[in-house]
Symmetry: C2
Subunit: 318 residues, 2 copies
């Protein structure tokens, strides 16, 4: 049996998975991305995990390579470049450094890099719901908002290799300050970080009772908002409605560029299910130009949490 | 020699051109789109013009077909569907009706339809500056704002066939009312119509002297604003600056989806040249996510006014 190693680098977690050629994640290792402040230490820790997993199937001796999905990961250059949600700055020569570190330890493995959301899109195409879908947008709702865009069956890389940044399209020209230096990006509203900013604003501005008032303002997480919504908390429900509206605008604008048949949601916030999905579908149709109305299905990803990005990254090796 | 007939349907004019296989527009006929209120009369008038041009090369007997670029033109269906800037409502079965009308008169010609801006993009790719450019966006600045998007050398049609509507992406969620029923579309700011709305607002709100105050408010055209700018009129220059800023935001958002190498501007407003181009380049870089900054050249189309759309439409026949 063939294996490949798929790595999903996120702002919070880094997941390293050993994947077999049937698309099963055989074993997974995890690192907390934010535990590292130095790029070198982080890359050495990843290398150790790759070697650990490679050793698991040593006797079979058939690791095809390492695929990595990372924020601002560049397929053409094998780099991570200026990722606003990672603790590492500038350009990281991911492919080059990892290949050298691995080779030094006797592991001759080719490393391929792409955007984390692009990897998720590839995962959805190969193992998930998008097997026969020629035009779709994968939206990953994590610490930030990523996206992978497929047109006519192919992932869109564009001139730079960075195409598909729905999360950094601007929906409020004078809106919230984003980590990327600009204002009003989709990600400032529709990510786990964004929804927390929204609930804080709402708690400040509204006099509405809310179970969330019992939590220290600086400790509120997106999970707390979800749990409050489960209890029918009006402020939490309004917060999901607003989050869905902002995300819908970003998806609508992207859809007018590539006209997808499906939009798949993936990642932490997507687990909020109908609290997000129902208002999202409503607002998406309102924001769409008439010829696109009712032509786009919004669904949750067909892949298990975390696995889509790991599988997509692993699929880069084939 | 082979010929084809390319038709550019615009909100103001309809241009019907006889094009030879070297890409020369041999002869052109024009109709005022707004002179027609009934679809039937309009299609009969187009048919008469097609036959007139076809007769010009009767003895050579080699008209390959008719290509049409039209607002909301659908390549898959051969239709115009709910075009907000045309005087005709609903779905027009353009291909079917024209083929029947032509056949009745003894002309057996195949009709192919696409979006007018898509046709311009194809024209730029075949006859213009984009011959070797794999990723670009063509923006047509006319009565409305159209766009044709090329990814990896192919025009993006998407699931519906309507992909590439930069003009109807929303940049001001509570902005100006658009003909399409929604608010804050790029087209409400960056078209010939949009710039006139802007100057009227400016004339109302500002006390600034302007040569434009001598013109009846309801008679001001985008050409008047251009001529005022030529004279150094501050209000006219501010008006171009604001128009460029709004267009830049629309182009930036689209560029984060497909990451083009080039953006080509085409159509009436593009003729304003540097008044639009200089601020547009500045704002585009400000609005772009860091990885896209300085990766996109904005240029005027390499094709003559009107010809790009006609040539692109004609190229559909090959």
């Amino acid at each position: 049996m063939d294996y490949s190693i798929g790595i999903d680098i996120g702002g919070t977690n880094t997941v390293i998975g050993l994947v077999d050629n049937t698309g099963t994640v055989v074993e997974k290792e995890k690192l907390k991305t934010r535990d590292f402040t130095k790029t070198d230490d982080y890359l050495k820790a990843i290398t150790a995990k790759i070697e650990l997993l490679a050793d698991r199937v040593k006797e079979e001796n058939l690791i095809l390579g390492v695929g990595i999905g990372a924020p601002n990961g560049n397929y053409y250059h094998g780099t991570i470049e200026y990722a606003p949600n990672l603790p590492f700055e500038g350009i990281i020569e991911l492919k080059e450094i990892l290949e050298v570190l691995l080779l030094k330890d006797g592991y001759n493995l080719k490393v391929t890099v792409t955007n984390d959301a692009n990897a998720a899109a590839i995962g959805e195409m190969i193992y998930g719901k998008a097997k026969k879908v020629k035009n779709f947008i994968m939206i990953t709702l994590g610490t930030g908002v990523g996206s992978g865009i497929v047109v006519d069956g192919k992932l869109v890389y564009g001139h730079t290799g960075f195409a598909g940044e729905v999360g950094h399209t601007i929906i409020e020209p004078n809106g919230r300050q984003c980590n990327c230096g600009r204002k009003g990006c989709v990600e400032r509203y529709a990510s786990a970080t964004g929804i927390v900013l929204t609930i804080k604003e709402m708690l400040d501005k509204s006099a509405e009772e809310s179970v969330l008032r019992a939590i220290d303002r600086d400790e509120i997480t997106s999970k707390d908002i979800y749990e409050a919504a489960l209890k029918g908390d009006k402020l939490a429900l309004d917060c999901f409605d607003y989050t869905a509206k902002q995300l819908a605008l970003g998806i609508a604008n992207a859809s007018e560029i590539t006209s997808p048949e499906k939009v798949y949601l993936f990642g932490g916030l997507a687990k909020s299910g109908d609290f997000l999905l129902i208002p999202l579908k409503k607002y998406l149709n309102e924001f769409l130009f008439n010829v696109f109305q009712n032509t786009i299905d919004v669904e949750l990803s067909g892949l298990k949490e975390e696995d889509a990005a790991v599988l997509g990254a692993a699929a880069l090796c084939y």
